[in-house]
């Protein structure tokens, strides 16, 4: 095999035609048949099927061993034809392949034109001139090698694609999670702000009250202890009076009591936010469990509150749902994706209506918004990976594709109805009964599923 550095598309893999060439001396058209017989019998030519006939450098015909025998071995064949030139017997349309023809093309030409049983080798030409012969078997073997190399390349490309797909799915998860975490972190800052301030002020007040208390205690001690002089008592009284003029403990303590109640409330808020995060991620629970989708919806709403609260009024009409066995963290992600998409589609005065019900052994979640809607030309593509109408850098185009995949893995389906200017409704339907639990599949399979979607 001769690797080739430059040339056509074949050069990357396997051989080219020229590397298959066997430099066999051709015969001239005038060569008598008895000389041809000699050649076919000589050991040098023992493995060739045919002899090329070349006139002035150009191939003009071919005489195959089979055809030759047919003539020569007939009774008196040798005597009748031995002295006649090969040109009278040769085939006039030899299999000719140019040296620079791509392997695949050459193989196609040869297989289409060869006769069965295989009686000829093919002739290789370089700019029309004879350059050698080639064995069909070699050509087919070269072809096979090339195809194997191609398919390895394809496999390589496929696994590269697969891993980048996984990376993208991961980055979409991280992007949406990052956004949510930033939102929650900000939301924590408000209660944290006043709790911290209140505690700091409480500490300061505590110190002041302590000073004041020791003033009072000293005064009380002096009064109880008959031995204290009048001046001493007067000085201590003066001290306490001065302290009181600086701090009004009564008023301050009362205010601080309110602030302490506020602080407890704030700590409650912070705990709730942290709990929401925990519920949403489900990091500390098993991958699959039986839950009510209503809980998933509530969890996603808690996390998405940051995006929703300023501009969207959320209406919940949640029906009684049987629990389904699923991966709650994945379904949370789906619902959060649907809610935030809806919020982004609504300018102001948005209404997000979330309904759930149970029918035909399935639970259905409808997420309806009165946003700007999805144009008809886009609606078929919204579940496609990388399809996004958001400006560059603002969406990976994977949110809905991943949601679609998650729902499919749960044996369910997700569908959409939309009208421009009116709004969009997404429907998620998940089976209750057998609830095909395929979401445990490895994530590489998930990536495969996504590729199929693409």
């Amino acid at each position: 095999m001769r690797p080739e550095k430059n040339g056509g598309p074949e050069s990357k893999v396997g051989q080219d035609i020229l590397s298959l060439a066997i430099p066999l001396n051709p015969i001239a058209p005038g060569v008598p048949l008895e000389d041809v017989a000699e050649l076919f019998l000589s050991p040098d030519y023992s493995n060739v099927l045919s002899l090329p006939v070349v006139d002035e450098g150009r191939p003009v015909g071919v005489i195959s061993r089979y055809h030759f025998m047919d003539i020569y071995l007939k009774p008196y064949g040798r005597e009748l034809h031995g002295r006649r030139p090969v040109s009278s017997f040769m085939g006039n349309s030899p299999l000719v392949v140019a040296h620079d023809q791509p392997l695949a093309e050459a193989a196609l030409h040869v297989t289409q034109n060869m006769r069965f049983p295989l009686m000829e080798d093919f002739i290789i030409t370089e700019r029309g001139h004879y350059a050698g012969i080639g064995f069909v078997v070699d050509l087919l073997r070269a072809m096979e090698l090339q195809m194997r190399a191609h398919s390895e390349e394809l496999n390589d490309a496929y696994s590269r694609l697969k891993s980048s797909q996984l990376a993208l799915v991961q980055s979409e998860k991280m992007a949406s999670l990052g956004q949510m975490v930033a939102g929650i972190a900000h939301e924590i800052n408000t209660p944290l702000g006043y709790v911290q301030n209140n505690v700091a002020m409480g500490q300061e007040l505590f110190a002041q009250v302590q000073v004041m208390n020791s003033g009072y205690e000293a005064l009380a001690d002096s009064l109880l202890d008959g031995g204290a002089s009048e001046e001493q008592v007067a000085a201590q009284l003066q001290h306490v009076t001065t302290l009181r003029s600086h701090v009004n403990p009564h008023e301050m303590l009362e205010a601080m009591q309110g602030l302490m109640a506020d602080s407890l409330y704030g700590i409650g808020q912070i705990s709730e936010l942290v709990l929401n995060l925990k519920n949403f991620s489900r990091m500390d629970s098993v991958a699959t469990e039986a839950v009510s989708l209503n809980d998933c919806i509530q969890s996603a709403l808690n996390i998405g509150r940051n995006v929703l609260k300023d501009k969207v009024e959320v209406v919940k009409e949640l029906g009684d749902l049987p629990k389904i066995t699923c991966a709650p963290s994945q379904l949370n992600q789906v619902f959060l994706n649907l809610f935030t998409n809806a919020a982004q589609a609504m300018e102001s005065n948005g209404h997000l209506i979330i309904r759930t019900w149970y029918e035909d052994d399935a639970v259905v979640v409808a997420v309806q918004d009165n946003g700007k809607g999805i144009p008809a030309e886009n609606i078929a593509r919204i579940f496609d990976p990388f399809f996004t109408t958001k400006p560059v850098g603002q969406g990976t185009g994977l949110g809905l594709a991943i949601s679609h995949q998650i729902i499919q893995q749960h044996g369910g389906e997700i569908s959409v109805e939309s009208e421009v200017g009116i709004g969009t409704s997404f429907y998620v339907r998940l089976p209750v009964g057998n609830a095909a639990q395929r979401h445990d599949e490895s994530s590489s399979n998930s990536a495969l599923a996504m590729l199929r979607v693409a």
Partner: protein
């Protein structure tokens, strides 16, 4: 001076109660969760300092502060927010023209110090306001505008906008920019955040420390909220305009800043309104120190 008046706005009452306590001594404190009520209080009282939350359901803090600028221009404006999105930070510069952009959770002593500083400045502004209107001095020389940007397009747009009304200097590297700044006071600096490899933050911060009347317009495609907040507090940048530059937007803002420069030159008391906070980054602090001493040396030689 009497107790200065402080107005606090937040949609969370607990924040208001907490801050009220913090400023209980030393201030006349008004609090409200309603932006309209806040504006009413500003109309009816001489408010020294307004401290507003950014994210509120009825009105964004930056919007409230923009209206506050019209209702009571002397009042010092401070934003106190737990949300630091880029949009809000830009609005707080361009619309709110805030004195400080503070983050929740806050440090009591810091906020107290900032508010106290702001109250003193507001008091001085009220005094100037009540004084007979000063005649805005007609500048003798052409105002000087310094462009600090590697990008030629910025220089081109500024030229197109100002023609020959101003002396326009284009510095495409930090060294050149610092030399120009040493020569003479500049009215307006139009600067990107990066000049070649140099982060010019410290240059802007230093200029503002030395020449509070110089107005800085930052033009950039760079998006980093924490750096912007730093530039608000430590360089008191006047505008933050995104690239690619809109000619009309730049024109409007350049006019406004040239005018403000004149006002500040004729009323030095107002210069305090753009007092900068100390540089926080230790490395920048050092660079700024070097630059400042270079400036003073060069100026002595130059004059």
């Amino acid at each position: 001076m009497n107790k200065p008046t402080l107005l606090l706005i937040d949609d969370e009452e607990r924040i208001l109660r907490s801050l009220r306590m913090l400023f209980f001594t030393g201030y006349e404190v008004h609090t409200t969760t309603d932006p309209q009520e806040a504006l009413r209080i500003m109309r009816e009282n001489q408010v020294h300092v307004i401290v507003s939350d950014q994210r509120m359901p009825l009105m964004q803090g930056s919007e409230l502060l923009r209206i506050a600028r019209e209702v009571s221009p002397a009042t010092m404006r401070i934003l106190l927010t737990g949300y630091s999105d880029m949009e809000a930070s830009i609005a707080s510069v361009n619309e709110g023209e805030v004195f400080r952009y503070l983050m929740k959770p806050w440090i009591g002593e810091e906020v107290k110090q900032v508010v106290a500083e702001a109250a003193v400045i507001a008091e001085a502004t009220f005094a100037v306001q009540h004084a007979p209107a000063a005649v805005a001095a007609v500048p003798e020389k052409k105002p000087r505008v310094l462009i600090m940007d590697h990008d030629e397009e910025t220089a081109q747009v500024v030229h197109e906008v100002l023609h020959d009304r101003c002396e326009i200097i284009w510095a495409s590297d930090a060294q050149h920019a610092m030399e120009e700044l040493a020569k003479q006071d500049i009215s307006v600096v139009v600067s990107d955040l990066m000049l070649g490899d140099t982060n010019v933050g410290y240059i802007l911060k230093t200029i503002k420390q030395i020449n509070p009347q110089t107005q800085c317009i930052v033009v950039t495609s760079f998006n980093d909220t924490s750096r912007l907040v730093e530039l608000i507090n430590q360089a008191q940048i006047s505008r933050y305009l995104p690239k690619p530059l809109s000619k009309s937007m730049l024109e409007r803002n350049l006019e406004y800043m040239l005018e403000r420069f004149n006002t500040l030159c004729s009323l030095p008391a107002l210069q305090k309104r753009q007092t900068v906070a100390p540089i926080s980054d230790p490395q920048e602090k050092q660079l700024s120190g070097n630059f400042a001493s270079l400036l003073s040396r060069l100026r002595k030689v130059g004059v």
